[in-house]
């Protein structure tokens, strides 16, 4: 499947972005357009997920995957935190901030995985879009608790802003909202809008991944904060988390494609929702560390190696 991966235009555009970024080309996609593409992708996966649940009904798998996903998001920051403090030599605040990123999930990794899995015959059920949304925030709570453990809660402003940021952040609202819209509308009402949300999907993903490649390589090139130990952890953590995710999913009786997707979600690290929350709640943590790790290393690792790896693991165990 790795070879399949490497002739997929989606991945090739990502690689092009990485190379252009490393070569310091001035190629760039305007911020507003990138945000627009992200909104489109979120609406599309939400809608398609909702429509597919409207077709197939609520299966027990849905409940299982959601429960396992939420548990993973809550718990994965714990081992990560100890690895980051011990092997990674981070202080408490930075270790908590990074751990939150690795417990949470990456939307783009998910979207890419769905496409690549489809290419090799593993069709993840649509409801995983809702599981994705549910896994975004629990890790933030665990990460903050770890970062602040044993310290008096500071009485600075952002407090209330944070809860808000966490539970009503744009991507969660849009994912869950479009999921519900897909559920209410059903296949018939989805038909007239499917030229945009279905047919256009993969092409838009190419352009979006071009931009992600540029972001990832520039982030890596511009960093001053990354040590060799942290770089290694940015590969080790997805391996550990992803394996746990696949194993748990299989153990709870999920289908191969579902378990593979759950593993990929567990392996992925957030670089949109969690950084914004951390900047607000832990401004003393260094964004250079958590962004370089999650966006600069873990994201490309997952896209190119992690996805086929966890797909194989799920097939093996399933």
């Amino acid at each position: 499947m790795i070879i399949d991966t490497l002739t997929s235009p989606i991945i090739l555009f990502f690689v092009l972005g990485m190379l252009a970024g490393f070569a310091r080309s001035d190629l760039s996609i305007p911020e507003a357009v990138a945000k627009g593409l992200a909104i489109y992708l979120m609406a599309a996966i939400g809608l398609k997920g909702g429509v597919s649940v409207a077709e197939n009904g609520f299966t027990p798998d849905l409940g299982t995957a959601a429960a396992v996903g939420i548990a993973l998001s809550f718990l994965l920051p714990l081992p990560a935190f100890y690895l980051l403090r011990g092997f990674g030599r981070l202080d408490q605040v930075n270790a908590g901030a990074v751990a939150a990123h690795y417990g949470s999930v990456s939307l783009v990794t998910y979207i890419t995985a769905i496409e690549l899995l489809k290419g090799s015959g593993l069709v993840a059920p649509g409801f995983m879009a809702a599981v994705l949304a549910l896994m975004e925030t629990p890790a933030i709570i665990t990460g903050l608790a770890l970062a602040r453990r044993g310290r008096a809660q500071q009485a600075t402003e952002p407090g209330s802003g944070l809860l808000h940021e966490v539970f009503l952040n744009g991507s969660v609202v849009l994912l869950i909202g479009s999921f519900l819209i897909g559920l209410v509308a059903g296949k018939e009402n989805f038909a007239p809008i499917s030229p945009v949300f279905e047919a256009g999907y993969r092409g838009v993903l190419c352009l979006f991944l071009l931009d992600m490649g540029l972001l990832a390589s520039r982030r890596l090139a511009g960093t001053r904060a990354l040590t060799l130990r942290l770089g290694s952890l940015a590969v080790l953590l997805p391996l550990v988390n992803g394996s746990i995710g696949v194993a748990l999913g299989t153990a709870f009786g999920l289908e191969v494609a579902t378990a593979a997707t759950l593993g990929i979600l567990a392996a992925s690290a957030s670089y949109i929702a969690v950084p914004a929350a951390m900047r607000l709640a832990l401004p003393e943590a260094d964004p250079g560390i958590y962004l370089s790790m999650s966006l600069g290393i873990t994201f490309p690792f997952n896209v190119i190696i992690g996805i086929p790896l966890f797909a194989s693991l799920a097939t093996l165990l399933g």
């Binding site: 945000k35 992200a38 402003e157 900047r279 401004p283």
Partner: protein
């Protein structure tokens, strides 16, 4: 030319922190403010310009005209945040035309 002397407060801050700064301005009874975009920058912790999708490192410039008294009040309130939140806060003199209301 009828002018009054006021202070111009400019705060360079991470975008996610701007609402908190605006709230602090309000508490210091500074009645108005504007927020300007910043494209890119560099400092001791490296340079940024392309993290904008994640938004975590994007800066914005909060720009407010206030009386000397109110601006001192604001600075006292916000000073503790300056280093933990990496804010750059500058104050300069400015003449505001017909500016009694600011």
């Amino acid at each position: 030319m009828q002018t009054v002397q006021r202070k111009r407060i400019e705060i360079m801050a991470d975008a996610p922190l701007v609402p908190a700064i605006v709230a602090a301005l309000r508490r210091a009874e500074i009645g108005g403010h504007s927020v300007l975009p910043v494209l890119s920058g560099g400092g001791r912790s490296g340079s940024w310009s392309e993290e904008r999708l994640t938004g975590a490192e994007t800066k914005q410039l909060v720009w407010a005209i206030a009386s000397e008294e109110h601006s001192a009040q604001f600075v006292d309130a916000v000073a503790p945040l300056l280093s933990s939140h990496r804010l750059l806060l500058t104050i300069s003199d400015v003449a505001v035309v017909r500016g009694e209301r600011f």
